[in-house]
Symmetry: C2
Subunit: 218 residues, 2 copies
DNA sequence: TAGAATAGCGTACATGTGTACACCGAAACA
DNA sequence: TGTTTCGGTGTACACATGTACGCTATTCTA
């Protein structure tokens, strides 16, 4: 395949996607974009839009997928940095903050559509965040030898905190970013520490039960 | 004052507010409401809208204020319950979940406009959440004898977690609500425990410094 | 009680929207 | 080579929106 035609089509499809992304800003949400605007920005006649997407919604879901991809790419980047040594939490937060500085509008898209009016959008965003959380959960489970439930709860809480910090970062003076990151790091440490304490307590309980059982069966 | 005229005006103003609130739903955001729709729902001619608000934005900000009020009312309710005894965290979460069940659309409004396209809206919502957080912070500071910074970090993290849980609750099957609440409670315990551990560590450091200083000055 | 103020109405208009339709030219295919 | 497919265009339409303007009826005020 790859015919000259399919190639061109793919190219203008990208133009549409980029046009949409390019119009997003702190004062412009995806749902406030019109088909006509996007087509115009992409240098297309309004009706040509339909050759690529049946709907603005379809375009939007594509954008969410794209955002999820960028997010997972981010994870990989963070893991690479971590393997080179350093505080896991610190590196993760720093990586995430960099992501937001470079991809503010994509992150905004996720934040907004997560609580938006389209069930499909909400589901798509939540799916991406779930992937993100589960990857972190796996990591915690094997790195910190945590119980599956505890690991999930910690991962979920951590992602929530970090996303919220990201949201704050979007509206933040640049000079306050470092302080925000520091606070976020401390909060993540609270969570990690708390989860660890609970894990220890659980282990003790298990030990207790074991000895009890031994005592009885003996 | 209170003339029959001012009274009537106040009444139809309320009708507009209620009309707007009434149109909000999981699939309808405030920003997707049109002036005409709201006026119609309130039983008014479109142009009469201007006798009460100069803008849909002005109406929106009024709604956010209203929501903040409801939120603080919620806090009071929770405090009353707490004074009657019981786990602070458990009662708070339960109260919040009840709030969301009864005021889903108001909560949605806050969630959405927090990441919305209007700087004024974002500021208004953040202000309400800040009040909420500071009240909790005060409580933690005196009830748990925490450092001001630690108390704030804990309060902020807790509010973030609870709001996020609230957001999940909005899209949740009713049967899963209890489990969600349980998970949230555990996460809040992580945070509380973590903050406590850090506080203890800090105190020890302070003790250490004190003895050091004593040793030197003696 | 006469005159001013004003909440609410209806009409009217310019503007932006999604999309149906017919058409064109170049690539794909037989 | 002749035919089909298809990405892109321009026109056209019905519709919803915000809001300017002038009018009316009722309340307020002097």
């Amino acid at each position: 395949m790859s015919g000259i035609r399919a190639l061109q089509k793919e190219k203008t499809r990208r133009q549409l996607i980029d046009a949409a992304l390019g119009q997003l800003s702190s004062e412009r949400s995806f749902s406030s974009l019109s088909l006509r605007e996007v087509a115009k920005e992409a240098g297309l006649a309004p009706t040509s839009f339909y050759r690529h997407f049946s709907d603005m919604d379809e375009l939007g879901l594509t954008l969410v997928d794209e955002a999820g991809l960028t997010l997972r790419q981010l994870m990989r980047q963070a893991r690479q940095r971590i393997e080179k040594g350093g505080s896991v939490i610190q590196i993760s937060v720093r990586t995430f903050m960099e992501f937001i500085e470079n991809n503010g509008n994509i992150f905004r898209l996720l934040l907004r559509e997560r609580s938006g009016t389209s069930p499909a959008f909400r589901a798509a965003v939540n799916r991406e965040i779930r992937y993100f959380t589960l990857e972190l959960c796996d990591y915690l489970q094997q790195a910190n030898k945590l119980d599956a439930e505890l690991a999930y709860l910690q991962a979920n809480a951590a992602v929530t905190i970090v996303f919220s910090a990201g949201s704050d970062a979007l509206d933040c003076d640049k000079k306050d970013l470092a302080a925000l990151a520091q606070r976020t790091i401390k909060q993540l440490r609270f969570i990690a520490r708390g989860a660890f304490e609970f894990s220890v307590r659980n282990d003790n309980l298990i030990e207790l039960r074991k000895t009890k059982v031994k005592g009885v069966t003996k």
